[in-house]
């Protein structure tokens, strides 16, 4: 909740950009979204002011709403016009123009606002002359509320108008627009009786009841209000919830459409253009398949960072990189999983090199990558059915790679075994013991 002083100044015409002073000096302890203050119609009960302030400052909307109600009670009703003004002057999320900037040029709206306000002033003057008591002092601020709401009604967005329609619904019953059912009529009669009893109690000056008067009267009035307006509040809450659900569904659809467009359609277009290059087509299809699979069945965004924190994530990364860079399919199977430590990171690096090596040199159509996490050790097998080689007669450039795989493993207490022969394919078996503190599931 913005500091009340500030709102009073705004009301008096000091309208400049809303300041960034933290409410009640809490800025350092809370973290809001850091952007400018905006209303949040998506999470609204009224105009979305409380939700907006909550998101801005990092509070819970409920807290802001409770503070607002307390301010209204303490300030004898001034909270309501404050809220309406905030509704008028704070732009909704994603926009920069507030409702007031539109209302300024709406001569009809201004006439309506002034008309309604002066009507209310007249009524209040009459009621004041008849001695309406505390009720009148609460009603005076509502002159501003009525004028503000009239402007919002005329110039607000679809959502603002829908909210106002909801808020004004009981008036429809009063003016006969909405025909009350028998049950709601009964409810209203009981509520009216309670209200009359409560108000009578409040205004009666019987000395013996003087102490009980505020308590009993207020209780009856509150009961009357809940009875009369309760179902309507419930309906508003339900409608808002439904609207939010519909919005969430629409966003999900947009998300899926974006995904299908971004990646699947793009890939299909690429495949059509590269139809003369089977290798490339297979590579594209594999890439798309893997991406879609991880998105649909594993609920993972393929672009998501931080995948490499476990053995399975690291294996997936090797698979993706090799398929993307060399166009050779990698059949990866991981059994079990655990978090990575330095040793296992080295193991994955070695496995990555072995896989790249197989993709570059073996000529095999597919590479198998098998990782198994056991309680005592993690093993990775990289295997191809390619041309293999004679370990005794390795060309110098490949020897370097083999040694680096070997070196990586032995430095960390692991082992690397290469089984190969010309024409027999190559199998690299890497084993790394797990550190004494097993983490994650096995």
């Amino acid at each position: 909740m913005e500091h009340p002083d500030r709102w009073h100044r705004d009301q008096l015409g000091h309208r400049g950009p809303f300041g960034r002073h933290g409410p009640f000096g809490l800025r350092e302890r809370r973290s809001g979204h850091g952007g400018p203050l905006r209303r949040e119609p998506a999470d609204r009960l009224g105009g979305g002011v409380a939700a907006g302030i909550a998101a801005w400052r990092g509070f819970s909307p409920t807290t802001v709403r409770i503070v607002f109600v307390l301010v209204t009670l303490v300030s004898a009703g001034w909270g309501v016009p404050l809220y309406v003004l905030a509704w008028l002057f704070i732009p909704a999320t994603g926009t920069d123009a507030n409702i007031f900037s539109k209302a300024r040029t709406d001569a009809g709206g201004i006439r309506l606002a002034v008309g309604l306000a002066s009507l209310l002033i007249f009524v209040l003057l009459v009621a004041g002359a008849l001695n309406g008591g505390w009720f009148i002092s609460w009603a005076w601020p509502q002159v501003f509320s009525v004028a503000g709401l009239a402007l919002i009604w005329r110039n607000g967005a679809e959502e603002d108008q829908a909210t106002l329609r909801h808020l004004l619904e009981p008036l429809g019953v009063a003016t006969g627009d909405v025909r009350p059912t028998r049950r709601s009529a009964l409810r209203l009669v009981i509520a009216g009786a309670l209200m009359a009893g409560g108000l009578g109690w409040l205004f009666s000056a019987h000395a013996s009841l003087a102490l009980l008067r505020p308590l009993g009267g207020v209780l009856l009035v509150i009961a009357a209000i809940v009875l009369a307006l309760g179902p309507w509040w419930l309906r508003i809450a339900r409608d808002l919830a439904l609207e939010r659900q519909a919005k969430a569904r629409a966003e999900e659809r947009v998300d899926i459409a974006a995904r299908v467009h971004d990646s699947v359609l793009q890939t299909l277009a690429l495949i059509q253009r590269r139809a003369d290059d089977p290798q490339k087509v297979i590579q594209l299809a594999r890439m798309q398949e893997r991406e879609l699979r991880s998105w649909l069945f594993e609920g993972r965004d393929p672009d998501e960072a931080g995948e490499e924190l476990t053995v399975a994530g690291g294996v997936r990364k090797i698979q993706q990189d090799v398929e993307a860079r060399y166009g050779v399919p990698v059949e990866a199977v991981t059994v079990g999983d655990c978090d990575l430590d330095d040793n296992l990171t080295a193991l994955l690096a070695a496995a990555g090199e072995a896989t790249v090596n197989a993709a570059k040199w073996s000529g095999a159509g597919v590479i198998s990558l098998f990782a198994e996490v056991e309680p005592g050790e993690v093993s990775i097998v990289v295997r191809d059915r390619g041309k293999g080689f004679d370990p005794e007669a390795v060309p110098e450039d490949r020897k370097g790679l083999a040694e680096s795989v070997h070196g990586r493993m032995t430095r960390r207490g692991g082992t690397a075994t290469v089984t190969t022969a010309p024409g027999e394919g190559t199998k690299v078996t890497l084993k790394m013991p797990r550190s004494s503190l097993p983490a994650g599931r096995t």
């Binding site: 597919v366 198994e372 059915r385």
Partner: protein, 218 residues
């Protein structure tokens, strides 16, 4: 041996015609169905050697077909095909009674081989299914003491030989290559795989289902 008679059950017409064209010379495709009920009717009528069954069908999972047909015609064998690889689907269709599982990206030669193997009564595991099984039967934490051990604990564990065979399948080895690697006959490899399949289907180990469900969430 004569060509195995095959019924294709898949809701994608494009996929059915593709498989029919590819397998046409190696197996005899006697019928096609695109949903659970038509498939059950057709299989009951034609009694094929092997049903190539998509795990995902609009009118219920592929396991519904397996269960319905197995009840009246236990001799019909099923080979599950799937594009999704979601462990819970695969495990469900295997436990319903399918004799194998392969992914739709499998090559034509391998698919024809898998069909022949299933027709002969063997089990067919893709490298991915082998990984699933190893994972599901991995050294799980001891069951809490209030859970009674299963009736036949032999069904709840893989022998070390079976584990070895599954590891090699997961690494992309063919049965012939496994036989050579482990110095055993291809028939022995087949019997190991069939034994794993039996354990997978009959094990009462409740972790299996839970594992499959968790795997999806992980």
């Amino acid at each position: 041996m004569s060509m195995p008679r095959v019924v294709l059950v898949d809701d994608h017409g494009l996929f059915r015609s593709g498989v029919r064209a590819e397998l046409g010379r190696q197996v005899e495709v006697v019928g096609e169905a695109d949903d659970v009920q038509p498939a059950i009717d057709l299989i009951g009528e034609l009694l094929p050697d092997v049903v190539l069954l998509d795990v995902h069908l609009p009118g219920g999972g592929g396991q519904a077909v397996v269960q319905a047909v197995k009840a009246s015609h236990p001799e019909v064998r099923f080979l599950a095909l799937s594009a999704s690889d979601a462990p819970e689907d695969v495990i469900a269709v295997i436990r319903a009674g399918a004799r194998g599982y392969v992914t739709k990206t499998i090559s034509t030669a391998e698919l024809a081989d898998a069909v022949r193997r299933v027709a002969a009564g063997d089990a067919v595991f893709s490298h991915r299914l082998a990984g699933f099984v190893l994972d599901a039967f991995a050294a799980a934490p001891e069951a809490p003491s209030d859970v009674k051990p299963s009736f036949d604990s032999e069904l709840d564990q893989l022998t070390s030989r079976e584990r070895e065979v599954l590891r090699l399948i997961a690494q992309g080895y063919t049965y012939k290559e496994i036989a050579k690697e482990l110095f055993i006959s291809t028939k022995t490899v087949e019997s190991h795989v069939s034994s794993v399949l039996r354990k997978l289907q009959l094990s009462t180990r409740h972790q299996l289902t839970r594992w499959a469900a968790e795997r999806r969430l992980a």
